[in-house]
């Protein structure tokens, strides 16, 4: 990884990375959990812009606020203060129903523990999202699973798949609604190294196809594959670095 800057302005950064159109923009983003003496300020006024097509890793130790930031941008949590614009839409004040529509139209999530439905096959785990959201094309499901390397496992149940294969199903599921933004929260956290490398490679490929990918991790090695690394400490962005020559996933070790 070759860091180039640490404190460039957002517009400048986007231009430098070759991605000029901002996909995510936050201003004064604050998130407070609890009330009174028990209140914890997880995010303390985050200003951030992520351009369309970037592969961003949000890095930070446990409790730094990285997942909270990711959740708010992804529309599964609400900010206490500040604004969030994603794909030109201000989601700070949206009601739960609109937020649900927003996620359906723009966002895909990949979680550390896959969260697959154990009673559904790989194919059905992807299909059910299309069915439930009414977005996407069921006919593309085999193609999606083929793309994540599971073309021969479409009718297997999660219990018949390895951890890496399950995470691939989760990636295919995240792609089912053809989102512009892909969030991956500790996507390698539950995987061994080779499997983790495969998942990272998959995410790199998806980014190469033009999707904005945001990975949340505490593993600094994962940051090597990103073209931009945001480091959060205690609810603030401590550094914002551009990586002009990201490493191939296969070369990353931890």
């Amino acid at each position: 990884m070759t860091p180039t800057t640490t404190d460039a302005q957002p517009d400048e950064r986007a231009e430098r990375s070759g991605h000029t159109e901002p996909s995510v923009r936050t201003r004064g983003l604050t998130r407070i959990f609890g009330e009174g003496d028990a209140a914890v300020e997880a995010l303390k006024g985050i200003d951030l812009e992520i351009a369309s097509g970037e592969l961003v890793v949000i890095l930070g130790p446990s409790g730094s606020g990285k997942t909270t930031l990711c959740n708010i941008i992804g529309g599964i949590d609400r900010a206490s203060d500040g604004t969030v614009e994603v794909a030109g839409e201000d989601i700070s004040t949206e009601d739960p129903g609109r937020l649900s529509d927003f996620r359906r139209d723009h966002v895909g999530f990949i979680f550390q523990f896959f969260n697959l439905i154990p009673t559904l096959t790989a194919r059905e785990n992807v299909e059910v999202i299309i069915e439930m959201t009414g977005r996407g094309d069921k006919g593309r499901v085999p193609e999606l699973l083929e793309a994540v390397g599971l073309g021969d496992r479409v009718d297997n149940f999660p219990a018949q798949l390895s951890g890496g294969q399950q995470q691939r199903v989760a990636v295919a599921r995240a792609l089912a609604t053809d989102p512009e933004l892909l969030f991956a929260d500790e996507p390698t956290g539950a995987l061994d190294l080779p499997t983790g490398q495969q998942i990272l490679a998959l995410l790199q490929d998806l980014n190469a196809q033009g999707r904005t990918v945001i990975i949340v991790t505490h593993n600094s090695s994962v940051a090597q594959i990103a073209n931009r690394v945001l480091t959060l400490v205690d609810g603030r962005i401590e550094s914002d670095e551009t990586n002009t020559s990201p490493a191939a996933a296969a070369d990353v070790t931890w």
Binding site: P118, M132, A174
Partner: protein
Amino acid sequence: MQARTHKTLRDLTRQKAQVIAVAVTIALGVMMYIATAGAYQNLSASYDATYDRLAFADLVASGGDAQAVAQAALDAGASEAISRTQVDPPLLIEDTKLLGRVISVPSGEHPSIDDVDVIDGDYLEDGVTDQVLLERHAAETFAIGPGDTLEVFAADGWATVTIAGVVDSPEYLWPARSRQDILGDPHAFAVVFAPEDAVAAWFAADPNQALALLPNGASDATRDQVSDAMEAAGASSVMTQEEQPSNATLSEDLQGFDQMSKAFPALFLIAAGVAAWVLLTRRILQEKPVIGTLMAAGARRGRVLRHYLGQGLWIGLIGSALGVVLGVLANSAITTAYTGFIGVPDTVIQNYPWMIVAGLSFGAVVGALGALGPSVTASRTAPAAAMRTQGTAKPPGAWSAFVARQTWLPTSGRMALRDLVRSKRRTFATMLGTVLALIMVLTSVGMLTSIMQAIDIQYEEINLEDATVVTQRDTVGADALAEVDGVAAVETTHLGQVTVVGQNGSYATALHGFEPDTRMHGFVGLDGSRVELPAEGILAGQALRDLLDVEAGDTVTLHTEAGDSDVTIAAFLDEPIGTAVYATNATAASALPDAGVDTFALAFDEGADRDGLRSTVTQIDGVVAYQDSRAIIATIDEYLGLFWVFIGVMIVLGTVLALAVMYVTMAVNVVERTGELATLRAAGAPLRRVAGAIATENMLATIVAIPVGLVLGVWSASAFLQTFNDDLFTLELRWAWWTLPAAALGVVLAALISQWPASRQIRKVDIATVVRERAA
């Protein structure tokens, strides 16, 4: 307080809604037990108090020399025996002529057996012969009391008497003329207690009944010995207290309480046990790492077992304590309402400590049993395995593989189908809730619809006459009655009391005589086909077959005051209410004593003014009694009023049972699958779609259980109904066409309603938090 007690209480608080649902189910079960078992005990005690206070006869013998029969009873071991006269003459009360009953009692002093309780006015003065006591039901029906007069149709015409007092009688707490006539037109029956001298003068009759009291705690052997002695002394029939019409009718009702006090609470307690099992199993699965940590720290298995058993015990005790309080209140309310409705003079309200202890124990045992399986699982968990939070997913079974191939179904539909076997425990509990609710509702509704249909059959297909008219002999002919506007047909009939004597016993009942081709009575054989009145011989209610151990073709003796006549039983009849015998008028006339009256059955034109007809016919000179057969329906409706309340309560409780169990299982379903649901929501699936998918899964278990519930419900209703069958009722389970679909629909609605809290639970799922959690 110990830390683990703190933990137990906080654990229960965390699942407040589900714990409350289980506790409420237990509370309802315990409440029903205390209320119904307590009411049964209290009602029995109330009857006993009245029977003891008023010296209700243990044995009543009819026929023979009553004084000799009474003496024989004393000689055989009775503690007290008396004789009296009972006659069924026409009465005129206000403007209503009816066939009443006059019973002789001593004037100036109460009878020592079958005493009366004066509730208004005074007892008969010594030596008077123009005063009577009127039984309460008639006083209420005709709204008359002390000082009013009525007329008794004596041998030499109408005798006017004054009512000295209104009384309750142990023999007429339920105003039944006979065992065949337990549901009568209230305007067609009245009981009058008259001075012995007056009765002797009116009817020129000697005492015809002997009453005996047995010593306290007398054995069945003593009773049989006294009974045999009375028969040996010339009594033609001896009726025990159990057979006495009023007591037998009320006992039927009490028997219902007894059955209910066992069956229905059991349904609730089973349901509560299963709900507790589902709930605590989930908690223990969730707490596996905690259990592992405790055991790794050296906690002994027994302590872990007791800790989780304690959670079940707490739920059980909370529920049963609430149930005991509600049950005690309900017991008092039911007893008071019932004795008030029936008019039982003594109301005993008592709470039985053993019952309260039993109720508390039931709740505690149910809670503990529900917790037992999960607690044993928890205590047997190996610490290392317990702390491995990533569960080992089971490979799909044959069902999952089969459903996966059904690609014509939507994916969410396949998900719902597979969820049936995903948590068999949960599916079982949901199904059990459905089945138990259906059993409860169908058993209650089945009893009501069967009784209603039995009444319909009795009064639409069997008793076809609209009214029965009794006239003085040869004063009013059938033609005169037929000319009354609104009367469509008139037939001569006969009616009298007989004792049917078979080889293995005797049975006192009514003998009805009809014209051979009568239109006034429908005779239905045991196979459902129409039966004709035999030219000779009799038709008999089917209960007689078992009572006398006789078959069609056998000869029995009809014993009356006129003597004995042997007749052949031509066939048995399927009649839901009562066990009477029927013959042609010729046969009946030869068997029955001459009562000096003519009896006619009347059929009315469609839409006739029944009150107007009653008034017109009773004003005809010579008419001494009139009974509107259809007025019986009003009595039945009044009687069934209690049943409707009971059915309503059962339906509400059945719904609560279904809701409580389904709520617990559905809440657990949501909790167990929070991760999946949150993932779907994170992907943008709308709440209604996610809630709909879960509801489909939950409803599927309910729908699968419905056929099972219907089958078991019908079986249970049938079995429950059988317990009521005897010579008073021959009930068969009959449903209105809508009953089963309505019950199924009701349970589906209850299940749908219970989706609402589940949907709220899904709405409250914190997607951001849950998606990061590892599924437990």
